[in-house]
Assembly symmetry: C2
Homo-oligomer: 340 residues x 2
């Protein structure tokens, strides 16, 4: 398997992305990497990480970099020689099986749509993330790719999330919940109710409406919502968790006694953190395209970026885009009729 890496993306650039790649490179001995970036920034780090001596790593010099504040449309038009674009291009040209970037989300989405094209019958690609819960994980989509979604779009997201959950998490017949503001049938807007109708008639394992707090209960395998709601839900829960961690730190640092207790509890806190550490859940999949693209969090560190690369690796191995394509064409007629 070959994975293309946008080495320039993210808040820390090659120092973090290549460190992450080095981890995966060592762990998975049959994976090849295509590294895209600016030579002056990338080569020194490739030397330090030892990647430059590996026969499984190829470097491609790129003259441009997509910045975090670039407009997606501008990046798409003007930065054709950027590391991000070249990494996506390599997937489009079937030279790589997947690509990973920690860069500008809008630009990555735009370039991926433009280069890879949407799967037949998919109107809008969606960004799908993995959420920790008390038990198993939950896939949540869309996380911000699409602000306004029709019920047909939300239905497509359900299909894509179901395939991803089945083949990357080994869930058979994944259960799907539709994010709403109440579990009662009468709740929600027309678009949500309409999506529920489509899902009920479909062969998918649709279980009904779920609420915001269900995201972390592990009650369903996949939760579907529009990108605005998904993005706010993700960030609000991240914010709540960070606030709790900060307050806990403050309370344990209050005096000598509490500091001592805090030190004693370090191994317990470490386990706790390991179970919910966002780094372990990094790597959101852009689904609905003819190719695998994974978006890493911009502030990813080495561990976090390595996780995103592993997500791409798994999706490439499972040929997720092809599997989504098959499902959509298989039962396509039934679903499309209902969707009209």
């Amino acid at each position: 398997v070959k994975i293309a890496i946008d080495a320039m993306g993210g808040d820390f650039g090659p120092a973090v992305t290549l460190d992450g790649v080095a981890t995966v490179h060592q762990k998975h001995r049959n994976v090849e990497f295509m590294i895209y970036g600016r030579e002056s920034s990338v080569l020194p780090v490739m030397k330090i990480t030892g990647l430059c001596t590996s026969s499984r790593v190829t470097f491609f010099d790129c003259s441009e970099v997509v910045e975090m504040d670039d407009k997606p449309s501008g990046a798409l038009r003007k930065k054709k020689h950027s590391s991000m674009r070249k990494a996506v291009d390599s997937v489009g040209a079937k030279e790589a099986h997947a690509c990973v970037s920690a860069g500008n989300t809008g630009a990555l989405m735009g370039m991926s749509r433009f280069v890879l094209k949407r799967l037949p019958n998919i109107n809008r690609p969606a960004i799908c993330g993995t959420m920790p819960t008390l038990s198993k994980t939950t896939k949540l989509l869309d996380l911000g790719g699409n602000i306004d979604c029709s019920s047909a779009d939300l239905f497509d997201f359900s299909v894509m999330g179901s395939v991803l959950s089945e083949y990357t998490e080994n869930r058979s017949n994944p259960s799907i919940g539709l994010l709403n503001i109440g579990e009662e049938e009468m709740k929600g807007n027309e678009q949500i109710k309409c999506t529920a109708d489509l899902l009920e008639k479909s062969p998918l394992n649709y279980v009904g409406y779920v609420e915001g707090d269900d995201i972390f209960k592990g009650v369903v395998d996949v939760i579907v919502c529009d990108g605005f709601v998904g993005n706010v839900a993700l960030k609000a829960s991240e914010g709540a968790a960070k606030m709790l961690a900060s307050i806990a730190k403050e309370e344990f640092n209050r005096n000598a006694v509490s500091k001592t207790f805090g030190l004693l509890c370090t191994p317990i806190f470490r386990k706790l953190k390991g179970r919910v550490d966002p780094r372990n859940y990094n790597g959101a999949s852009i689904l609905g395209l003819n190719g695998t693209v994974v978006k890493s969090h911009g502030s990813a560190d080495k561990i976090s970026f390595a996780k995103a690369v592993e997500v791409a690796l798994q999706e490439a191995r499972q040929k997720i885009p092809e599997k989504i394509g098959v499902i959509l064409s298989d039962s396509n007629h039934v679903k499309r009729e209902e969707k009209e």
Copy 2:
């Protein structure tokens, strides 16, 4: 000040609501209470709590109860003799200065709108809650009253949230953020961009877009969003916090050593919990009506319900509806022109 109480609302009914009232009754010696409920359920608890001997408490027997699964429209049409309706009626008749219910949110919203009527120039009332942050609290609205909101509605929410923050939290010129999925100007849908335009031209202290994680950072005094997004943000963050608490409990209960450490840390955990305990933030205000209505969480316990009663008390004392009305009529012409 007189506060009307729907004693029958919530998961536990009078056992909790009246216990909460008893706490506030003792703390605030100049407040009177009008208790609405079914005699057979209420009187025994009034005896236990000692409320029945107080000259500041009046009980009103109600033949009906609004159930949690009642449809709002049905409750509004058919349950005119319910404790919820009678409590709202007492505010409408100016017999009480505010009312509190832990019952069916939709029914409470519907009855409040019907009985109290909207303030002039307010198209939709909104539900406003208080969120804990690292420093001060943040007001978040709408929390689920309105699924689809126009930019004029979101603008009205900003005015109402600003007044509530100023007079109940003593913030001068409260800062207002508009919840979006990015801080860049180009992000968001048309309705959000349009609201931003209105806010920029207004005398309100609008600071720009905020994201989901900003809810818990205390970066602004008021955060405005539509009711679907607000409800999901609230519940998702509650869910994340509950998951973290459960995982912490699991890790501390893992073995004898960790259990001992957990016991030693009990005072620290208690302080931590106190700072983020949702019970301390209970009591969401239904704003935009000719009267003060406060919604308590349905699963409220005594402490939690008492907090909601205190929220109602504070709003009644500050005459929040009147103050919102004055602001809206004062600068009304300017805003309306821009809103058209």
